[in-house]
Assembly symmetry: C2
Homo-oligomer: 352 residues x 2
């Protein structure tokens, strides 16, 4: 199967952001080593002072031409590029709103110069929630921006923080996507000495799942049915757990969330990328979600192949291959919808 692809989950650390990471002495930061620069971003890397802390970072993380080379190699027609975790969550509150606006303008300029290959998800200064609605309105006027990406932890009190209510309204009013993405992880204290594997496989997906479940239980999607939430990594675990969540909410005599419908109703209003790395998850996702709201993603430039930098652009990356392979047991119509048709419609894309 060879399908044109729209990639809705693909990251860049913008040059202005990379410069900021290079100046820092605490995570997140970029450290120069004899073997090349290293990106140290995960919370559990804070205390790792070894020379192998973090992971190699090259131009594939911040150069537009490398993103386009990756897209060409993998048959990706259009990418909806998002800033990568942890976004600007660590920035001083007084500085965050201006930085958000600068990064959003940077991304718009990059997309505008891409001859139709790139669209963008911007960032918000969640540490100053009162500024976010105005920034969303401003972003809505940028022709290549399609929404924002925000971390599942919000500003530390969860995405159900009441101060975020104007964000949901402004995003819904502006027709903008809010891409919910993990960074902080859940449960790390239970899996010491497991490298990044458990954190990325379980900690990340649990974080996303808790955040979105709380958004639903606190009524955000009931109050804003037009809000377009895109949930990272095939929805974390929620397409699998949706029935259990319904049952647990319905049977809990100790708490009434006052929702007129079960949580799964609101989960079906959401969008999902198809980044699950195996067919069984896609079987659940396609059985659960709105068929028009599942879209292909790669998570580039993470999970970089273990090859030298000078051959990287000519190398096939495993993640997009595995995620394409995972579609193979679906019908031709489902494959087409996920690979590109849903993305074209959701992001108003005209193929270049």
């Amino acid at each position: 199967m060879s399908l044109p692809l729209i990639d809705v989950h693909t990251h860049m650390y913008l040059p202005r952001y990379v410069a900021l990471l290079r100046q820092r002495t605490r995570v997140p930061r970029i450290v120069s080593r004899a073997g090349g620069d290293r990106l140290v971003i995960l919370p559990d890397e804070e205390n790792d002072t070894s020379t192998s802390a973090g992971r190699p970072i090259g131009g594939e993380f911040h150069e537009v031409r490398r993103k386009l080379a990756f897209m060409d190699k993998h048959g990706i027609a259009v990418s909806v590029v998002s800033s990568a975790n942890p976004w600007i969550d660590f920035v001083e509150p007084d500085e965050a709103p201006a930085l958000a606006a600068q990064l959003n303008d940077d991304l718009e300029a990059i997309c505008a110069a891409s001859a139709g290959r790139l669209l963008g998800f911007g960032v918000l200064a969640l540490q100053r929630p009162e500024t976010c609605a105005a920034e969303l309105k401003r972003i809505a006027g940028h022709p290549h921006m399609r929404g924002v990406i925000i971390g599942s932890a919000g500003r530390g009190r969860g995405l159900d923080d009441p101060d975020f209510e104007p964000i949901w309204k402004a995003a819904a009013d502006g027709g903008l996507f809010v891409f919910i993405h993990p960074h902080y992880g859940v449960g790390q204290n239970l899996f010491p000495d497991t490298g990044h594997a458990m954190m990325l496989a379980l900690g990340f997906t649990f974080e996303t799942s808790i955040a979105v479940a709380l958004l639903i239980l606190r009524g955000v999607l009931e109050r804003h049915p037009g809000l377009k939430l895109l949930i990272a990594h095939a929805g974390g675990t929620l397409p699998y757990l949706a029935g259990r969540l319904d049952s647990c909410v319905k049977n809990d005599i100790s708490k009434d969330f006052g929702l007129p419908r079960p949580p799964s109703h609101y989960l079906r209003q959401c969008w999902y990328d198809s980044i699950a790395y195996h067919g069984p998850a896609l079987a659940a996702l396609t059985a659960f979600a709105d068929p028009a709201r599942i879209m292909f993603g790669t998570d580039h430039p993470f999970f970089r192949p273990h090859v030298a930098d000078d051959v990287l652009d000519k190398t096939t990356w495993p993640a997009p291959e595995e995620n394409l392979q995972a579609l193979s047991s679906l019908s031709a119509e489902q494959q087409k919808a996920i690979a590109y048709a849903n993305g074209l419609a959701a992001f108003a894309i005209s193929l270049p």
Copy 2:
């Protein structure tokens, strides 16, 4: 569809255990209230001193005749009964081995008197791991016992605790199942004021998933390929996340677990109940797991219908109905396998 059912996930608090819970002043315990007894068992209930702490507990939790009435009402031919969480995890280490043996003998006697309707999963004194292999050997000699149930948290250091190695060997040698079940939860600090719903839907399934993933990554299933793990609640989240776990392990340059095969290989050696409450999860589970290793369960007597005690035995419970309904999109062969054929084979059951 009307199928005879084998229920592999169904609990009892044995009378000896109920008496113990009544004597206690801290969770887990049973509290007498004007409106009836209440069972207070979850860790987050420790500080809840209200009269509505916990949940109502009646004879359906500990009387054999009520278990049989439930089975008759729902077409369940045979139940493999397990003690319920938190088992004997809270008992003083010096007292735990003898109590485990007494409870296992109690359960064997109950099953022996049931005219073929009941089989059992016993308990182990995990706080004294050096005693467990002998108790497993003893249990293997009980004609109605089919294994043990243990909590995903082990004795507090995870199931990958090296001191548990003799448990896995003894269970594998004796052909006994080890039923992995959650109790302590993961992530609770992130979802305050959510009753039990988030804890049971997400906290429980995350706990199980972490525990089993660690068992696999530490090589337990590689060393003991004959070990029969039954993973509660449709495997928590693992059938959905198995592909992501494989990918994250393969791409983690910071940690080599030294496993000759990807984690999903070992997950396919495991057994799963079908307790997911919706069809999409079953679509993933049946696409992922060995078709002979998925078995029906009810989680009785939890999720009790909100009716008076005197009509409870005549009431249809929602959980088994929802979990039967979730099978309806599967093939007739798959439904038969999950409803009873796999259970008959796995537990060497002759229908009465």
